[in-house]
C-alpha cells in the first residue's frame, strides 16, 4: 500500500470516525441526564440531512441547514415532552422499547414523506470531482468540511458544559439529580434540553455528511449502532473518549475494506462492539473501578 492510498483510507476513516463520534456524543448527552440510551439517535442525523435537502428548494444552503437543525431540535424536544417526560421511574426495558418504537415511527414517517429514494445535498464547495491536495493525495473539500464542522461541535460542547451556566446545570443533573433539584435546577427542563442538544448536533452532522454519504430514510439504524459502539468503546458518558474511539473505529473500518468485502464492513464494527462488550464493558478509557458501581 503506497502513501497516497494509505492517506485516502486514513481520511475516509477520520471522516466516518468523527461522524460516529458525534452520534456517540448525542447518546452520551441524553444518557448523562436521564440514564436512557436513546435508540432513535441515528434518526436525528437522517432528519437533519433529509429536511435540509427539502428546504434547499426554498432557501440558500446555509439557511436550509440552520432551519433543518432547528426543526430537528424541536422534534427532539417534542419526543421528550410527549413520550418521556411524564413517565415516573421507568424500567430500562420499558425505555429501550419506547425509544425503539420512536425510531421506527420517525423512520416510517420519513418513508412516507420522502420515499425510498437516495438523496443528497450538493457539495458545499465545488462539485463531486473538486479536490484539494494534501501530502500528495487528493481529498474532496467536503471531507475537510465534515471533519471541521464536527471538531467545532466537539469543542463547542466542551466549552458549553464547562463554562456556561446552562451546561453546568445539565452536568449537575447527571452527577446527582436529587441534589440538583434541591439547588433549584429544573431537572425536567434539563432533560428536554439534552434531547434538543443531541438532536441539534445530530442534525448538523447529518447535513454536512449528506453530500458524501447520502441520505435515505433508513440510514439512521446503522449510524445508531456504530455510534453506540463508539460510545461504549470510549466509555459511556465520556465525550472526549467518544472522539478517540470514533476515530479508532472509523480508521479500522476504512482499512478493513482493503482485505474484506465491502458488504462485511458493518459486521466488523459490530464484531468490535460485541468483543468490547464482553471483555471491557466500561470502555477503553473508562475506569474499571467506577464500572463496578454501574449496571451493565
Amino acid at each position: 500500500m503506497d502513501l497516497s492510498l494509505f492517506l485516502q483510507y486514513l481520511f475516509a476513516g477520520i471522516t466516518y470516525g468523527i461522524i460516529y463520534a458525534i452520534v456517540a456524543i448525542g447518546f452520551n448527552i441524553i444518557y448523562n441526564t436521564t440514564g436512557i440510551i436513546n435508540f432513535a439517535q441515528g434518526e436525528f442525523l437522517m432528519l437533519g440531512g433529509m429536511i435540509s435537502i427539502s428546504l434547499l428548494h426554498f432557501m440558500p444552503l446555509p439557511l436550509a441547514i440552520a432551519v433543518a437543525v432547528l426543526i430537528t431540535m424541536i422534534i427532539g424536544a417534542l419526543i421528550e415532552i410527549v413520550f418521556i417526560r411524564w413517565i415516573d421511574n421507568p424500567s430500562v426495558l420499558r425505555m429501550i422499547v419506547i425509544t425503539i418504537g420512536i425510531s421506527i415511527l420517525i423512520r416510517e414517517v420519513a418513508l412516507h414523506i420522502w420515499g425510498e429514494s437516495v438523496r443528497s445535498l450538493p457539495y458545499f464547495i465545488g462539485s463531486s470531482v473538486t479536490s484539494v491536495s494534501i501530502l500528495g493525495t487528493r481529498i474532496s473539500p467536503q471531507v475537510l468540511i465534515v471533519i471541521g464542522a464536527c471538531s467545532v461541535m466537539v469543542l463547542f460542547l466542551n466549552f458549553f458544559f464547562k463554562l456556561t451556566s446552562l451546561g453546568r446545570e445539565m452536568r449537575a443533573c447527571s452527577a446527582n439529580r436529587r441534589a440538583a433539584i434541591l439547588c433549584g435546577i429544573n431537572a425536567k427542563n434539563m432533560v428536554t434540553f439534552s434531547f434538543m442538544l443531541s438532536a441539534g448536533i445530530g442534525a448538523l452532522a447529518g447535513a454536512v455528511m449528506s453530500p458524501i454519504t447520502y441520505s435515505q430514510y433508513d440510514n439512521g439504524t446503522g449510524l445508531a449502532i456504530k455510534g453506540f459502539t463508539v460510545a461504549i468503546l470510549g466509555g459511556l458518558g465520556n465525550s472526549l473518549g467518544a472522539v478517540a474511539a470514533g476515530l479508532i473505529l472509523g480508521v479500522i473500518e476504512a482499512f478493513s475494506i482493503s482485505f474484506l468485502p465491502l458488504a462485511f464492513q458493518d459486521a466488523v464494527a459490530i464484531a468490535i462492539l460485541l468483543v468490547i462488550l464482553f471483555i471491557r464493558p466500561h470502555g477503553l478509557f473508562g475506569s474499571s473501578e467506577a464500572a463496578k458501581l454501574k449496571e451493565f
Binding site: R94, I98, G101, I104, L105, E108, V109, I270, L274, F296
Partner: protein, 353 residues
C-alpha cells in the same frame, strides 16, 4: 385437578383450532388457513421469546437472526445443488449415511440435495450451538448493553445472508422442496395440502406451548421467576442464574429456528427480510403487547397481529403500526393489552397449581 386446570385452556384452544378449520372449509374461505398457518409458525417463535423476555427477564433484539439461521440453512441445504462437490470426503460421508436425495429442478436439471430431515436437524442444532456460544458472554450483560449486543448479533446475521452467495444474496433462496415428515404428510404450500399443513403448524405450536407451560410450572419456572424478580436475591438463595438464563436463551433460539425451518418449507423459500432488525423488533412488540410474562397473551397476540399483518390489513403502514403499538403499550399498559379480568383468571390458575 391441577393438571386438568393447566390443560383446560389448551383443550379449548384445540377446539377453536379445529372449529376455525371446519368453518373456513365449510364457508369456502380456506385461504384464511394459509395465513393462520404462517401466523402459527411465527407464534412458535414468539412464545419462545416470551419465555426469555417475560419469565427470564432478558430482552433479545436478535431473534429474527435465529429464525433466519433455521430458515436459511434449511433452504440452502435442501436447495443448493451439491453435485459439483460430490466427490469431497464430507459430502461422501453424507451420501454413505443416506442423507442425500437426488431430485429434479423445475427446469428438469438433476439436483443433489440434503434430505429435509437431516437439513432441519442441522439447521436447528446450528442455531442451538450459536445461541449457546453467544449466550455465555451476552447474558452477562444487562439492560441497554444486552439489547445492543443482541441487536448487533441480528445485524451480523442479516449482513451475512445478504452478502453470501451460498444464501442467495438479496434474492434469498426459492424453490425449496417440500418437507416430507412421514409418508403422506409433508410441509409445503400446495393448495391441496392446505388443511394438512394447518394442522401440522398448529400441532407444532400446541406442542411447543405445552412444553413451555410445563417448564414454567416446574422447578425451572420458579427459578426463572425469582431471577425476574431480583437476580441478586435469586443468586443469594442458591439459584444458578447464569445457567438458567442460558438454558432459556437456547430454548427460545431453538423454537425460533424450528419455526424458521418449517415456515421456509411451507413458503417454498426465504428472503433476507426475514433476518432484518425490523422483524426482531416486531417480535419484541408482540411479546410486549401480550404482557411480557404471559404465554397465553403472547400466543393470542402473536396469532392475531401476524394474521392481520399477513392479510395485508396494515397496508404500507405495516412497520409503522408495530412501532405505534410498541410505544402505546409501553406508555399506557406495560402489563400488556389483555384486560385485567382475563389476566386474573390465568393468574389464579397459576397460584393454585
Amino acid at each position: 385437578m391441577e393438571l386438568f386446570k393447566r390443560y383446560l385452556p389448551i383443550a379449548i384452544l384445540l377446539i377453536f383450532v379445529v372449529g376455525i378449520q371446519l368453518l373456513a372449509s365449510a364457508t369456502d374461505t380456506a385461504y384464511y388457513l394459509t395465513q393462520l398457518t404462517m401466523a402459527a409458525y411465527y407464534s412458535l417463535l414468539i412464545i419462545g421469546l416470551c419465555l426469555l423476555m417475560g419469565y427470564a427477564g432478558q430482552i433479545s433484539l436478535g431473534h429474527a437472526g435465529f429464525f433466519a439461521i433455521g430458515g436459511y440453512l434449511t433452504a440452502a441445504l435442501t436447495s443448493n445443488d451439491l453435485s459439483a462437490i460430490r466427490e469431497t470426503a464430507f459430502i461422501q460421508l453424507f451420501d454413505k449415511a443416506g442423507l442425500l436425495v437426488e431430485r429434479q429442478s423445475l427446469y428438469g436439471e438433476a439436483l443433489l440435495n440434503v434430505h429435509p430431515w437431516p437439513a432441519c436437524i442441522i439447521a436447528v442444532s446450528t442455531a442451538i450451538i450459536i445461541a449457546f456460544i453467544l449466550g455465555i458472554p451476552v447474558l452477562k450483560l444487562k439492560g441497554h448493553y444486552l439489547a445492543m449486543a443482541t441487536l448487533g448479533f441480528g445485524i451480523i446475521i442479516y449482513r451475512v445472508v445478504l452478502a453470501a452467495e451460498f444464501f442467495g444474496e438479496a434474492d434469498g433462496i426459492s424453490e425449496v422442496p417440500p418437507f416430507q415428515l412421514f409418508p403422506g404428510v409433508s410441509v409445503n404450500g400446495d393448495f391441496t395440502n392446505r388443511v394438512q399443513n394447518y394442522y401440522i403448524a398448529w400441532g407444532l405450536l400446541l406442542f411447543g406451548l405445552v412444553l413451555l407451560l410445563n417448564l414454567i410450572h416446574s422447578r425451572v419456572g420458579r427459578a426463572l421467576r425469582s431471577i425476574h424478580g431480583s437476580e441478586e436475591a435469586a443468586e443469594a438463595i442458591g439459584v444458578n442464574t447464569a445457567r438458567y438464563k442460558l438454558y432459556i436463551f437456547v430454548i427460545s433460539a431453538a423454537f425460533a429456528a424450528v419455526a424458521g425451518s418449517f415456515l421456509t418449507h411451507y413458503n417454498g423459500g426465504i428472503g433476507p427480510s426475514e433476518a432484518s432488525v425490523m422483524k426482531s423488533v416486531r417480535y419484541v412488540a408482540i411479546v410486549a403487547v401480550g404482557g411480557m410474562a404471559n404465554l397465553w397473551g403472547a400466543l393470542i397476540m402473536g396469532i392475531v397481529l401476524n394474521f392481520m399483518s399477513l392479510r395485508g390489513m396494515f397496508g404500507t403502514y405495516d412497520d409503522a403500526v408495530f412501532g405505534v403499538i410498541l410505544i402505546l403499550i409501553m406508555l399506557f399498559a406495560p402489563q400488556g393489552i389483555l384486560s385485567l379480568r382475563v389476566r386474573n383468571f390465568f393468574r389464579k390458575e397459576e397460584k393454585d397449581s
